[in-house]
Symmetry: C2
């Protein structure tokens, strides 16, 4: 029953991340984490740290993984602002549509829980939270959109993106979420011509 580690670290971290993502920090006990990862408390503590540390690692893991997806999608989309916004939303919609993953967004949920999180965790959540808008703004600025419009587009799209997390958590279907995105893109498309 011992000797060399009997589990894969990446798999265990993913399992812990999904558990926190589904149930939130407060409603995830060490027994839940033990069940989800297949490790017992001793192994969790020695290999993954205490609950706070582990949650921080999961938060950063989530931010890095999906942040990379946003970056890749925006880079693929190129210079057209609407294509960039569309690509941006598609990353979110794809994540939500994945039946293997919980609904919502770990970062958005963590931000909502800021008043009861430790300062360190809250700081990470807030930092990760701001990145989506900054990524999109940078992509739009790199394209052929005036800075002012890039900021406005990014603010608006990031806001709608956050709402997708709430809506999916409320049980909205992928089709309903797609409608929200389409309406948003439509509104942005109409706002574009008189300026660009």
């Amino acid at each position: 029953m011992a000797g060399r580690k009997q589990f894969d670290m990446e798999t265990a971290l993913d399992a812990a991340m999904v558990q926190f993502w589904r149930a939130g920090y407060a409603d995830t006990s060490l027994d839940d984490l033990s069940r989800a990862t297949g490790l017992n408390r001793s192994s969790i503590y020695s290999s993954l740290g205490d609950k706070d540390t582990l949650f921080l690692r999961c938060l950063d893991r989530y931010a890095a993984r999906y942040g990379a997806k946003y970056d890749a999608a925006l880079s693929r989309a190129g210079a057209d602002p609407l294509a960039a916004v569309r690509a941006f939303f598609d990353v979110t919609l794809q994540r939500i549509a994945d039946p293997e993953l919980p609904d919502g967004c770990l970062i958005a949920q963590s931000v909502m829980a800021i008043p009861v999180l430790s300062p360190a965790v809250a700081a990470h959540a807030m930092q990760a939270f701001g990145f989506q808008r900054l990524r999109l703004r940078a992509a739009l600025k790199a394209g052929r959109l005036p800075d002012e419009d890039a900021e406005a587009f990014a603010v608006h799209a990031a806001a709608v993106n956050q709402s997708l997390a709430v809506l999916s958590r409320a049980g909205a279907s992928p089709a309903q979420l797609r409608t929200v995105v389409d309406v948003t893109i439509d509104a942005l498309a109409h706002a574009l011509p008189p300026r660009g």
Copy 2:
């Protein structure tokens, strides 16, 4: 120390509501509720019910109170679609700007916690959650907006409205929230003319 009730029911319910609103269901203990309301456990149980029941009452109280504010604002705004949307957002912005009240939105937070809430509470949260969009859609339909556009506007505005809760919880300033709203209204305004 006893005899007739020594507290005001409405005040106590408001205090409990604010406590749940600030810290969420999971992170609110009976001691927290006791401290917030000034009542002790016995009085809470005999007068307000158990934790689940009390939370349900607070959720309904919140939905009724702010639902009424949305109704009143939309009714005051009249038939102009943009005025209606503006009035809709103003209710949210005013609530968030009130320093006496927690950031965010009790319903949005509850919806995010659905996987760990009791079925009864989850059902109430989901029902309350859908009302904003329906109120707005009804107001827009009553105005001079085609049904299809009314639905699209309502979907979009309700989504942005939800994001305001997340953003405020992340510490966004009232000015930043106002920017999100202004950008949204601007986009909707541009989407309007070619159709209406």
